[in-house]
């Protein structure tokens, strides 16, 4: 643990002077953190047994960390806000805009971090700022890119040894592979995080989106949504698998690790897991940036890591301090996450590109270099608008994956599915406008 934690914490966080410090001499404080279970092997163990313990020792604080599976995060947070009791710090893998009325204004934390590391980047800002209330409802510390993973041997047999780099080649190559090998394309389609990321990314690549830059629903304003739906129906018919419609959390990653699919979109934790469990398999998995579509090369993050300090938290000051110190130590976070967690504050990992290039598991193709421009092709959830509560409810209720699934299964035409999704979104948006 770098010395920076203690040194920085004593000097940098203005709001911590006073009563809290005095209290520290009388009894040890407690900081309760709820955190989604990290996908990267070993990260949670390091976090719990090393990082948090040292931080707690330096701040005379007993830190309790509870890890919650990603698919249970929303439900657990809902329980806590209903009871107005629980953790001080709650970490979400996506912008928790729907919980904003239960969060403190995190502007103070951004300002404190900003004094040391510069302004929050656009991805963090647009993921945690509510332009209506002018408040930050959360603090974004990191994000995880969502590249394409593909098996080099399968795609080499399809005469595309460098993998799919656009949607047309994805379909053509995956079709060939399924025909020759009976190995389907592994893009996630079942409602959940992975399909949300895959399909929101696809919408951007097809130059359409859930909402416009004003935050109004526009899913059915352009024919390109129908085009995207038609494409996925065709992809599914030519190269897909029915299993993709029933996968649970990380089902797409497990299918890749079992070599049951030829490619997928995921965080690189998939590859890190393979490196740990089956190095030969990992050597066969390559990475590509997101697929080029009519709208360009665009993707949403697999994870937008956002911490919330509840407004009912018992140790708000400790929670704030923890976040400020976390950014000071972000270089270690990046390394311990196996280069999964990219920094919101880029100068905390100034040699990020170098680390990706020199990754010991990069192989002869330096596969992790595919991520070096990730910030250029990644847009926040909600793009071209902000991650508003109404957008995030649309995300969390998997409106987009359900729209795609309806078309893929043949239960709705692309036009009807787009209309149906638009109606559902408009109800959600209207509800939030009355809050």
């Amino acid at each position: 643990m770098p010395d920076a934690i203690g040194k920085h914490s004593r000097r940098s966080f203005i709001g911590l002077a006073g009563a809290g410090t005095a209290l520290a001499f009388t009894r040890q404080k407690t900081l309760k953190i709820a955190q989604w279970s990290h996908f990267a092997p070993g990260f949670d163990e390091w976090f719990d047994t090393e990082y948090v313990k040292e931080w707690g020792a330096q701040h005379d604080t007993h830190v309790i960390v509870d890890h919650i599976p990603v698919d249970k995060i929303d439900a657990r947070a809902t329980v806590e806000v209903a009871a107005r009791k629980g953790h001080d710090l709650f970490m979400f893998p996506w912008p928790p805009a729907t919980f904003q009325q239960h969060a403190i204004d995190h502007t103070e934390i951004y300002q404190s971090v900003g004094n040391r590391h510069g302004n929050v980047n656009a991805l963090g800002h647009r993921s945690t700022f509510n332009p209506k209330t002018k408040r930050y409802f959360a603090f974004a510390d990191s994000w995880i890119p969502a590249p394409i993973h593909y098996f080099q041997d399968y795609w080499g047999e399809a005469n595309t040894p460098l993998g799919p780099s656009n949607y047309d080649t994805l379909r053509a190559g995956a079709k060939k592979i399924r025909t020759q090998r009976s190995i389907p394309c592994g893009l996630a389609l079942a409602p959940g995080l992975e399909s949300n990321i895959t399909l929101h990314t696809a919408l951007l690549a097809f130059r359409t989106s859930v909402q416009d830059d004003e935050g109004d629903v526009c899913i059915n304003s352009s024919h390109m949504t129908v085009e995207a739906l038609r494409f996925f129906k065709s992809l599914y018919e030519m190269a897909g698998t029915p299993e993709a419609l029933t996968w649970g959390p990380s089902g797409n990653a497990r299918a890749m690790l079992a070599r049951k699919t030829s490619c997928t979109t995921n965080a690189i934790s998939l590859l890190r897991t393979a490196e740990k469990e089956n190095p030969d398999l990992a050597g066969n998995i390559q990475l590509r940036p997101p697929l080029l579509g009519p709208g360009g090369v665009l993707a949403v993050p697999h994870v937008t890591s956002c911490y919330v300090v509840w407004n009912f938290a018992e140790n708000k000051d400790g929670a704030k301090q923890f976040l400020v110190d976390l950014i000071d130590n972000f270089k270690t976070v990046f390394e311990k996450s196996g280069s999964c967690n990219f920094p919101i504050y880029q100068n905390t990992v100034p040699d990020l590109i170098h680390q990706l290039s020199k990754d010991p598991n990069g192989g002869p193709l330096f596969k992790y270099e595919a991520l070096k421009d990730a910030l250029k092709w990644t847009r926040n959830l909600g793009f071209p608008g902000f991650a508003t509560p109404e957008y995030m409810e649309t995300f969390n209720t998997s409106v987009i994956p359900r729209m795609f699934a309806a078309v893929v299964k043949g239960s709705l035409s692309p036009e009807d599915a787009a209309r149906s999704a638009e109606s559902e979104m408009k109800r959600i948006y209207e509800k939030w406008r009355q809050v």
């Binding site: 780099s165 053509a172 590509r288 290039s357 270099e369």
Partner: protein
């Protein structure tokens, strides 16, 4: 390479219309005449931009392209293939010549004369882009897969830069084919061919996204065409009109969109609108299901060119268009260029070293150095 030529054009105060007519005549003259006459007769500007030469093999390798693949029949690399025939239109007209005056260590002695025209994809759709169509890249095996010294794969770089090809869709009987032939997807009948992007199969001139860059976020990975795509490669994006636009029963929306675009830009050889900008394609055609775009299977399954090695001239002024260069553009059946703006711009660049609109509005005073804005 800096060369200075003296202005020898005659009388002062030539009107721009007269000049344009003169340039037009000169531009459509057979290339052999131009090649003979231009270097000695029409030297009116300072010439310091070199004309285009092909890259040498070492430079291709260094930038992730296998030159051996370029030397094969499907790639049709200049210097080996296509010295005559399309894009050249006239008998004996040469697309490239061996020229040992090259001094660029990254290039070889094959100088490109065929200069392909295109609109710039920057919102204006100006007819200002000129490229050298050196070779076709047919599948991913043309790429070595070795990153350059900055860790970039050429496959990734070129994905940021699209050249938009418009294949003819209209059949002799007047009906339109409204889907591309995609053997990779099993579509092989009742479709328009994508086997070639030679100028005779195009309904309008190309569009090139030379302006994309990392500063304004217009390129996906933050690359700039002239800074990062140093082989000047393009991924071909084919765009076409859908059944809603040109099928037996076009929709009222598409009828309106197409009429407005024809009124604005003129008609292609198919009678459909000429498309010059991303806004026209994306927000008017595609958003209303009147147009669509696609790319070919990078595995070569569609049997057409997927990418081009086709560097745009960074600055086509002041000598980059050599006296013996000729313009490759779409012509109407009667032999008149579809878009005369290219013809005139090319002629101004070739004979006067500048774009036509860089001269004073009413007259060009001879005996002076034409303005060359930096």
């Amino acid at each position: 390479m800096k060369r200075t030529r003296r202005n020898v054009l005659g009388a002062p105060g030539v009107s721009i219309l007269t000049l344009s007519a003169l340039l037009l005549v000169m531009a459509v003259m057979p290339a052999q005449l131009c090649a003979q006459a231009a270097p000695t007769t029409f030297s009116v500007f300072r010439s310091f931009n070199p004309p285009p030469f092909d890259f040498n093999d070492a430079f291709y390798t260094l930038n992730g392209i296998d030159p051996n693949k370029l030397d094969t029949t499907p790639a049709q690399r200049f210097g080996i293939f296509r010295q005559t025939g399309p894009p050249a239109r006239n008998n004996g007209q040469l697309n490239w010549v061996v020229d040992n005056s090259n001094t660029d260590p990254d290039r070889k002695n094959v100088r490109i004369l065929a200069t392909t025209a295109g609109y710039i994809d920057d919102g204006t759709g100006a007819a200002t882009q000129f490229i050298s169509l050196i070779a076709f890249v047919m599948d991913q095996t043309f790429f070595t897969g070795v990153p350059d010294k900055r860790g970039n794969l050429m496959l990734t770089i070129v994905g940021d830069f699209e050249a938009y090809a418009a294949i003819k869709q209209k059949q002799p009987n007047g009906t339109f084919l409204t889907q591309p032939c995609r053997a990779s997807l099993g579509i092989t009948t009742n479709c328009f061919s994508v086997a070639s992007v030679a100028t005779p199969v195009l309904r309008q001139d190309w569009r090139f996204a030379t302006n994309r860059n990392g500063i304004d976020g217009s390129s996906g990975h933050g690359f700039g065409y002239f800074c990062d795509d140093i082989l000047g490669m393009w991924i071909i994006t084919y765009f076409y009109f859908t059944a809603d636009a040109v099928g037996p029963n076009p929709t009222p929306v598409c009828n309106t969109v197409l009429s407005n675009l024809v009124a604005k830009n003129g008609a292609s050889l198919d009678g459909t609108p000429i498309i010059k900008t991303a806004d026209e394609l994306n927000n008017q055609l595609e958003a209303n299901n009147c147009g669509a775009e696609f790319q070919l299977d990078q595995g070569g399954g569609d049997f057409g060119p997927v990418w081009l090695i086709c560097p745009a001239l960074p600055d086509p002024r002041n000598g980059a268009i050599a006296p013996d260069a000729f313009l490759d553009q779409v012509f109407q059946p009667n032999g008149i260029p579809l878009d005369l703006t290219f013809t005139i711009n090319f002629a101004c660049l070739k004979f006067l070293g500048s774009f036509c609109n860089e001269f004073p509005q009413t007259t060009v005073t001879m005996g002076q150095q034409p303005a060359t804005p930096q």
